[in-house]
């Protein structure tokens, strides 16, 4: 039997390697170029280190203090991921309920919008006053930030089912629960992944903002302290690590998305 996936494996592996490289190499080159320009400019214009640090200093400290940044980074990462899970979890539940009830949608969606438009920086200090210095305020802020995109996309996704498939299931007298699990959930996945790709970097931002208002640990805290000490090198180090975190998480989501959505027109089918 001729299975299309059982081709010559060696060339396919090489092809995939080349393809992966074509994604990685251009941005790396661009970054290197930008770094060189930045370094040159700082050295030529003799800018003091407490205004703009040269990338060489930034990278040097990052290397020597790697443990420190990893430790602080994992605190922020933890808050971001837990917050995201809670925000997405609540949003998915809400979306599932709203998809089945117009009444619920009409009563709850305005509340959700209210949550979304409330500026996080106004609410964050209150969270600290109410919930203390632990991870809870940061997790809450992160959950609030990541909640809305998942909710909105969830409602749309759960409703965007193929009419024919819906009729087919109804003709079998499928229950609402069966229809939800068998049809609505897979149909919603493209929308949900789209929302996740937006929410995941937001979750990192949420954790950092939360840390600005109270924390001794985490990269947000590092940033605040570095800023007040005019320690630009550490500030940039923290920013680099955060950026890396954001990119890494988004890439993970994209990989998961490609695996889960192999059937969707948004991905490439072998």
């Amino acid at each position: 039997m001729d299975n299309p996936s059982m081709q010559d494996t060696s060339t396919s592996v090489r092809r995939r390697l080349v393809s992966a490289m074509s994604y990685v190499v251009p941005p790396v080159l661009a970054l290197l170029l930008a770094g060189i320009v930045w370094e040159t400019w700082v050295r030529v214009s003799d800018v003091p280190i407490y205004m703009v640090p040269p990338p060489s200093e930034v990278l040097k400290q990052l290397f020597w203090e790697f443990d420190f940044f990893i430790n602080e980074g994992s605190v922020t990462l933890f808050e971001a991921l837990v917050g995201f899970s809670i925000g997405a979890g609540v949003a998915l539940t809400g979306a599932a309920l709203m998809a089945h009830s117009r009444f619920l949608e009409r009563s709850l969606l305005p509340l959700a919008i209210l949550v979304k438009v409330t500026p996080v920086v106004a609410v964050a200090p209150l969270f600290v006053i109410w919930f203390g210095f632990g991870p809870i305020p940061k997790i809450l802020i992160t959950a609030l930030i990541t909640f809305f995109p998942v909710l909105v996309n969830g409602v749309t996704g759960f409703r965007s089912v193929d009419r024919g498939s819906l009729d087919f299931l109804r003709s079998l007298n499928a229950s609402r629960r069966e229809i939800f699990l068998i049809l609505r959930v897979p149909s919603a996945l493209p929308y949900l992944f789209s929302a996740f790709r937006v929410s995941i970097p937001l979750s990192v931002i949420g954790a950092v903002v939360g840390e600005w208002f109270s924390a001794d640990r985490g990269l947000g805290s590092v940033i605040i302290v570095a800023h007040s000490n005019l320690d630009m090198v550490t500030l940039f180090d923290a920013i680099f690590v955060l950026a890396f975190m954001g990119v890494g998480l988004t890439a993970l989501v994209s990989v998961a998305e490609r695996k889960a959505l192999f059937w969707h027109e948004s991905s490439v089918v072998v």
Binding site: M51, P125, I129, F133, F213, S214, S221, D231
Partner: protein, 340 residues
């Protein structure tokens, strides 16, 4: 072709002319009004260095000195903006000046001293039963931005074990104390104690001075290059603001009126408390003889030494570089302000 060449010629002349007049306009002519930016280190309120500038603005002292001053307020970036040149004068605590000169070696200079005694204090709720620094052990201490040197000094002076205190960074909302998320809070003597009492709480105030730790308060700071290259402007600024300070000492109500213009949303009575508390600490036998804003090398040296002794500073700097009294010398004659 001919027309084109003529056009180029006139363009060239025009550009030359524009360049020349631009250059002329940019020259450091001190006789014309010079634009200066002052950034207060916090939101508009009755901190004395802010008040001096508000009064100098409203009473026209700046104008009389030929200065056009843009008064701004900081949301945390005033030091950065001073360094980048966007701001010419700002405020800073004296211990901040010493600390920053060591790390990261900022070229900042204090030109006038408002707090002959510092405003840094620590409060706890009366109901908490905390009565001495020793009681701080086993409790939570909240500070803003960074651990205050006065705190470290008190711990040393009172023999408190720092490792037994949980230190957390907090924001500017004093409710963090009333909600008991912290037991001791770092505050400004002139500010939060009054606010907290206004909320109906009884508070205990700990002052470093009570523990034999000398403190200096707020100063005006500027960049070294301003002192070196724009000395005249600095002198005018100090003269006008010291006049404003004099006025504030003598005219509480009118000064409050001025303050309320800048701090529209604040409570007048709270601003009064702030103003009067800081005025108390701005005068001393030193200023009585030499003039308001006065400071000496000895003051700074003693201050730095005690900070070092109590482990509150990481390194020392030459105090004569950290402050200068030449502008004060230049505006006072025998303790009297020369005006205009």
């Amino acid at each position: 072709m001919d027309r084109f060449k003529k056009y180029l010629l006139w363009m060239g002349i025009g550009l030359l002319f524009a360049g020349a007049s631009l250059g002329a306009a940019c020259s450091d002519e001190e006789t014309t009004a010079r634009p200066v930016t002052f950034m207060a280190g916090f939101k508009p309120q009755a901190n004395l260095p802010f008040v001096a500038a508000y009064v100098a603005q409203e009473k026209g002292y700046f104008t009389e000195q030929g200065l056009v001053v843009d008064i701004k307020h900081s949301t945390g970036e005033h030091l950065n903006l001073l360094m980048s040149g966007d701001v010419d004068f700002t405020t800073a605590d004296a211990n901040s000046v010493l600390k920053r000169r060591v790390d990261p070696e900022l070229p900042i200079v204090a030109v006038a001293l408002f707090g002959q005694q510092g405003q840094q204090a620590f409060v706890s709720l009366g109901e908490s039963g905390i009565q001495t620094p020793k009681d701080w052990e086993g409790k939570t201490f909240g500070y803003k931005i960074s651990v205050p040197p006065d705190y470290l000094a008190i711990l040393e002076a009172a023999g408190v074990d720092r490792s037994k205190i949980q230190e957390v960074r907090v924001g500017f909302d004093p409710r963090i104390l009333t909600e008991k998320q912290v037991d001791i809070l770092a505050v400004f003597k002139s500010n939060e104690p009054d606010t907290l009492r206004g909320l109906g709480f009884d508070v205990t105030v700990f002052d470093a001075a009570d523990y034999g730790v000398p403190t200096l308060g707020l100063t005006y700071i500027t960049r070294q290059d301003m002192v070196d290259e724009n000395a005249d402007t600095v002198k005018r600024f100090v003269r006008a603001t010291m006049k404003g300070l004099e006025f504030a000492f003598a005219n509480t109500e009118e000064t409050l009126d001025i303050i309320m213009k800048f701090a529209e949303n604040e409570n007048r009575e709270h601003q009064r408390f702030m103003l009067l508390t800081e005025i108390e600490n701005a005068a001393s036998p030193l200023t009585d003889s030499n003039g308001l804003g006065w400071m000496t090398a000895q003051q700074w040296k003693e201050f730095q030494d005690s900070l070092l002794q109590y482990g509150a500073l990481e390194g020392s700097t030459d105090v004569n570089l950290a402050f200068t009294d030449r502008f004060l010398e230049g505006i006072y004659d025998n303790g009297k302000l020369e005006w205009p």
